[in-house]
Symmetry: C2
């Protein structure tokens, strides 16, 4: 079968089940799917029509998967830092959201976030926010792959002033977005067990089940949350959600910091997917999730940046670095979360969390061509004994040269092919000017 | 006085004692020194000969100061990760050093490290290693500013096979390097209280005093070290060094993780300078230094990357991010090490640690022009409410466009002006090939 794209002359870090690394490798793509992976010259066939991409000796790897984001929050990047969580939320983020978040600002800020993610090698994200159809429009325009959840919360929220209508609005989103694009997977994003009643949690989960989609929820993020829920009913946040019947293999439990061994057993038994967000958890002083213990228990875990207002970027390379180092220093063990484990979490792990492990997350025959090329001919990536070490401990988002989603080249020579990034940045700056005026 | 360089059209983050930020600012330079800092148009004088550098609305700031490095160790970047400290050192790093470290490899790997540091906005570093005259040659070639210490250790070391000659070799280095360049400040780097006898520690400190130079030492890095020293004499590592008379305002105490309130009081009383190395401390699972408490106690503290074999890069931007986030999550307090505190530590704090606070570390009239420009017209730095937040939480080394040391432009449009980076990388790759063959 003649290929229409051939990526050649690079180290292929496949992240397949054997974690094969092909030193001088080549990937062939036809109609957006990977048709072969192997050493250069493996296939004597002629591909006269194929576009050849020379990786220049760099690393050819699966696109990174960001399992937790709030894309429109790039509008508030750096608006408020170094504050107590309650002050940050109540005095800065919530007022800014209530005044400045609308369909237009959600779309423009989501475009900015997609541009940032693509330029730093992320090809798939799991998002949850309000006006999520605006996020969907931006993601569609960007060409990325995504799981997108309309927010459900028992407070007046942007686009959902009446909490009584939250489930209806989420249903409208699911109905409107499903089947609009093979790259977009609608979902339900229920904010948390401390901002939603048991009734809302159950209704939101029932809605996700009805549509057969992922259910995303923040849980066990802070000690305050854990204390509040335990104080109310004697159960940990995880045990409480389990009691409600929320936890299953379609649930993405985000954060999972304040979990004990029993909670980890519940998460493992129910096949719950976990999104680990080290930078946000550190910056907001929420704590360090026991991610090594969760992985050991067989829990599917991916890595996420969280909204970039609490990070303050969407760079999955720095997130991998932070995940590895945070786990080591918290457990006082250099061995936990080694580079291969972290890279796997940020690719195949993320694909599993997103429910897309058959489609993306690795470079394997039959999968969609969600592939990035990292340029390693730079001082900070020289010499190279081990490409995986470099990807986790030394590379930055800015080392990504080429990004392809579903076989479509979205970033070439480190620049966006289709998105007008200057126009997008100008649009966001205009809105930010209004935010600054209050 | 006519300027010979004018940097204009940027946000000047001065890091002067008032932490002044000039929104649309300009910096004028004459003969390598800053002659004025203020808003664009402050000075109606004519400067017909001046080279004008347009910062394009980006951030004009003091060059970053890396207070702890082992420059030649870039040769071992990513050679071995995710190992117990003892295995990492004894099975990988020490054997590789003993076989592959020589005058040639020290020089070529130090050139690589200088290239990496300059490209990521570091203008001054404090280094300690063996064959330090090779490091000095490389740093001189790069145009950077540095404090460079010949290593002293009571074991056979590269270039110093007989420990009995360690002090003599350090003395020869001091004598040979002093007064060779206004940018290079020789120093003594005594490895640690657990690898040097009390006699060696005292002799090395006496030598530093004799030459009036900085004395650098790793101390209180691991719990094992603290236990060993306390076991031997009942004193903490800090109290032990104090008892020996090692601690004063010319001593740079690197790491200082395993310190208690009494140790912090000693460090403060003696005016000791501290280098905080968060990424290395996390990756080697050494622990988290109480840097906020040390700053509160009035201790001069700077930030360092450590050797990039335990990091694995020399990017001070990611180091700032990590410093802020590590302190927050360890203390469970979002407020500690806010962005301004961290940026100050990485600039003026570092200058004080290096003993160069009169010369560098801030953009002030009379200081040397050690200045960098950060390009903020990128998605991950948009919008911008607060330039200081961006520098700590969102910028990366690759956002640095222009780097000037002592008024000499070393990086322009993100590329090195004088160093042949391709040739340097090729040289290091050749040596790394030999390292790989064992």
């Amino acid at each position: 079968m003649p290929a229409d794209i051939i990526i050649t002359n690079g180290i292929v870090v496949t992240v397949n089940p054997h974690f094969d690394i092909i030193k001088n490798g080549e990937v062939r793509i036809k109609d957006g799917r990977i048709t072969s992976v192997g050493p250069v010259g493996m296939d004597a066939g002629h591909h006269p029509e194929a576009q050849v991409i020379d990786a220049g000796g760099g690393i050819i790897m699966p696109g990174l998967i960001n399992t937790h984001t709030h894309l429109p929050m790039s509008l508030f990047r750096g608006l408020a830092d170094d504050l107590m969580l309650s002050d940050w939320l109540n005095k800065h983020i919530f007022p800014a959201e209530s005044k400045h978040i609308n369909e237009h600002t959600v779309r423009i800020a989501s475009l900015l976030s997609c541009a940032e993610m693509l330029l730093s090698g992320t090809t798939t994200c799991c998002d949850g926010y309000f006006f999520e159809s605006g996020v969907a429009a931006a993601v569609r325009e960007s060409g990325m792959r995504a799981v997108l959840g309309q927010g459900v919360i028992d407070f007046p929220a942007p686009g959902a002033p009446d909490p009584a209508r939250n489930i209806d609005i989420a249903r409208e989103f699911l109905a409107a977005v499903k089947d609009t694009s093979p790259l977009i997977h609608p979902s339900v994003f229920c904010h948390s067990p401390y901002t939603c009643s048991g009734k809302t949690l159950c209704a939101a989960k029932a809605l996700a089940n009805e549509f057969g989609v992922r259910f995303q929820i923040h849980v066990a993020e802070t000690k305050g949350e854990a204390d509040m829920i335990e104080g109310a009913g004697g159960l940990s946040p995880i045990a409480y959600l389990d009691r409600l019947g929320i936890l299953d293999e379609n649930t993405i439990a985000v954060h999972c910091i304040w979990v004990d061994d029993v909670d980890i057993e519940i998460l493992a038994d129910k096949g719950v997917c976990v999104s680990h967000n080290p930078e946000s958890n550190m910056k907001l002083a929420s704590g360090a999730a026991p991610v090594a213990a969760m992985l050991d228990a067989g829990i599917l875990a991916g890595i996420g940046t969280d909204g970039c207002a609490s990070n303050n970027d969407l760079d999955m390379f720095s997130e991998m670095d932070m995940a590895a180092k945070l786990a080591k220093v918290f457990s006082m063990d250099t061995i936990v979360l080694d580079a291969q484990t972290v890279l796997t979490a940020a690719t195949m792990g993320g694909a599993s969390v997103a429910g897309l492990s058959e489609i993306t997350g690795s470079i394997e025959k039959g999968k969609a061509a969600d592939i990035i090329i990292v340029n390693t001919a730079k001082p900070h990536l020289t010499p190279m004994y081990d490409p995986v070490s470099h990807l986790v401990y030394a590379a930055r988002g800015s080392d990504v040269d080429t990004v392809m989603v579903n076989g479509r080249i979205l970033v070439k020579d480190g620049a966006l092919v289709y998105m007008d990034v200057e126009k997008i940045m100008d649009g966001v700056r205009k809105v930010a000017g209004e935010v600054m005026r209050g």
